[in-house]
């Protein structure tokens, strides 16, 4: 029987069944609506908020925050990771400091960040950037350190210039590890944003959830959670797609 179901569909059987059971239980009154609304109720809330334009606006604000923080923190992490992987001088100057700062959980900085930036955009950007910096930095550094020295030697024997050696040998060799960092950083990016928006914001998905909590709109709270989950899944899928496209040579990504 399983033979007749497309491969991709099998994974969806269980979630669909769970949602169906949840819907049925809500309709039969087993789950009170003020504890957990029915899936159809959540969809209705989504439609309602979409009509007013609130939903699109809040998703837009949150996505922009997430991505700008990611670009800033990830960019710095990548640059420092490359610099420290390629230059032992740069590494000796900065690595110890970075490893020390790494031991401070970035979310512990929230009170300080609120003191500095209030609830302005800078606060969210700073926290997200700080959160994504380390996974990208560490994995870029490890990726470069892990490049096969025999290949680097081969490049030198074949007369590659330093720039060519970087683009043809070192960067492609470090890429699988950089992607590991990227996907890990995306997870941290959403997590940081959720916490930051829940604590201090005047727009965005987290703000929408906190507002709804004050007015006991459970359906909107659940909708916010679902949206976070979908955005996280979307970001991960995009990262996987990029990984698949750029690591075609890797045996783990070859279809045959």
């Amino acid at each position: 029987m399983a033979r007749h179901i497309p491969q991709g569909a099998i994974g969806w059987l269980l979630p669909v069944a769970l949602v169906a059971v949840w819907e049925a239980a809500s309709r039969l009154g087993e789950i009170p609506a003020n504890v957990l609304p029915a899936p159809s109720g959540v969809v209705a809330a989504a439609v309602r908020l979409a009509r007013t334009g609130e939903l699109a606006q809040n998703i837009g604000v949150s996505t922009l925050r997430a991505l700008s923080g990611f670009v800033v923190g990830g960019g710095i992490g990548l640059a420092l990771g490359l610099a420290n992987g390629l230059s032992s001088l740069s590494e000796r100057v900065t690595d110890t400091t970075l490893q020390m700062i790494r031991n401070v959980p970035h979310l512990a900085m929230i009170p300080l960040v609120i003191l500095w930036f209030g609830i302005d955009e800078e606060a969210k950007l700073f926290l997200v950037a700080l959160g994504v910096f380390f996974p990208i930095y560490i994995n870029t550094l490890h990726g470069i350190r892990g490049v096969d020295p025999q290949l680097v030697e081969m490049g030198r024997v074949y007369g590659m210039s330093p720039a060519r050696l970087f683009w043809r040998v070192i960067l492609p060799g470090a890429l699988p590890s950089i992607f590991v960092g990227l996907r890990y950083a995306l997870g941290i990016m959403w997590l940081t944003l959720i916490v930051a928006e829940t604590i201090s914001a005047s727009s965005g998905i987290g703000y929408m959830a906190m507002q709804a909590r004050e007015f006991l709109l459970v359906d909107v709270v659940v909708l916010s959670i679902v949206i976070y989950a979908l955005l996280g899944k979307l970001a991960d899928s995009v990262a996987r797609l990029l990984e698949r496209l750029s690591l075609q040579w890797h045996p783990a990504f070859q279809t045959r």
Binding site: M154, R168, H250, P251
Partner: protein
């Protein structure tokens, strides 16, 4: 490697030999004078002298750790000597006209087979011409039909043939080979030996082959060098005409003599 592929490789070689009528540029003579190389306290090469005439095929044998790889790296200019000098042609050991082939294929896993061969060419050459030359080199090793593959799908012997194509695509005038067949199984190794000999016969570069297989050395080389205590301990010509037959009594006698020399200080223990 199929017989068919080998046949095609042989045909491609004949064609290329005929194509550039006066023949490709002949090999460069290599001269080594008073070559020393020390790593910290230990002196690996202790004043080695050697002259290799243009186009000669030399095999270097010696016990593990006696400095064979060190010698090759100095010959292609990958390391600098502690004292003495290496001259390839009229220049000091320079990477330009020399190529080094390693025991491992060292292909870039993220580049297709043909792109890996192009690594051996000057990036200043126009892309279309580079591609054409790389395909020609792949034809010579009988792998032109795998040009578009990733290296990870090739067998060990095929990967080493791609590495050979990469080493030869720029038509080097001096080729150094550091146990290039050492990691291959016995049958693949015999096929590869035939391929190396055919390509050398067609292109006439100067070749220095380091090998731990004395049988391989006597089958391929014009001359055998045994390295011991940082110097050339034995320098023997191989006067058996080509094509050579495996199991030729002359070769077998020579092989026995070299093995005897390698072990003469402690005997064979049998």
């Amino acid at each position: 490697m199929s017989t068919l592929a080998l046949q095609r490789a042989a045909d491609a070689l004949d064609l290329s030999a005929r194509a550039d009528a006066p023949g490709p540029p002949p090999g460069l003579p290599v001269t080594v004078r008073g070559l020393r190389k020390a790593f910290g306290e230990t002196e690996v090469l202790a004043g080695l002298d050697l002259h290799i005439p243009a186009g000669q095929f030399v095999a270097v044998v010696g016990k593990s750790g006696c400095g064979k790889s060190t010698l090759l790296r100095l010959m292609v200019g990958l390391d600098t000597p502690s004292a003495g000098e290496v001259r390839v042609g009229s220049e000091r050991a320079a990477a330009r006209a020399s190529r080094l082939m390693f025991q491992e294929p060292r292909l870039l896993p993220w580049a297709r087979v043909v792109a890996n061969v192009e690594v051996g060419l000057d990036p200043a050459i126009p892309a279309a011409q580079r591609r054409e030359q790389a395909l020609q080199a792949l034809r010579e090793v009988g792998l032109d039909d795998r040009a578009g593959e990733w290296p990870s799908v090739l067998s060990g012997g095929q990967k080493q043939r791609v590495a050979l194509a990469r080493a030869l695509v720029s038509r080097p005038r001096f080729l150094a080979l550091d146990e290039p067949l050492g990691a291959l199984d016995a049958l693949t190794r015999i096929e590869m030996q035939g391929l190396v000999e055919r390509i050398w016969t067609a292109q006439r570069f100067t070749a220095v082959l380091v090998t731990h297989d004395v049988g391989e050395a006597v089958a391929l080389a014009d001359r055998i060098l045994v390295i011991d205590a940082g110097r050339v301990a034995l320098d023997l010509p191989v006067d058996v005409p080509r094509p050579r037959r495996r199991g030729d009594p002359g070769l077998a006698a020579l092989e026995g003599r070299i093995i005897g020399h390698l072990f003469n200080d402690q005997g064979l223990g049998i």
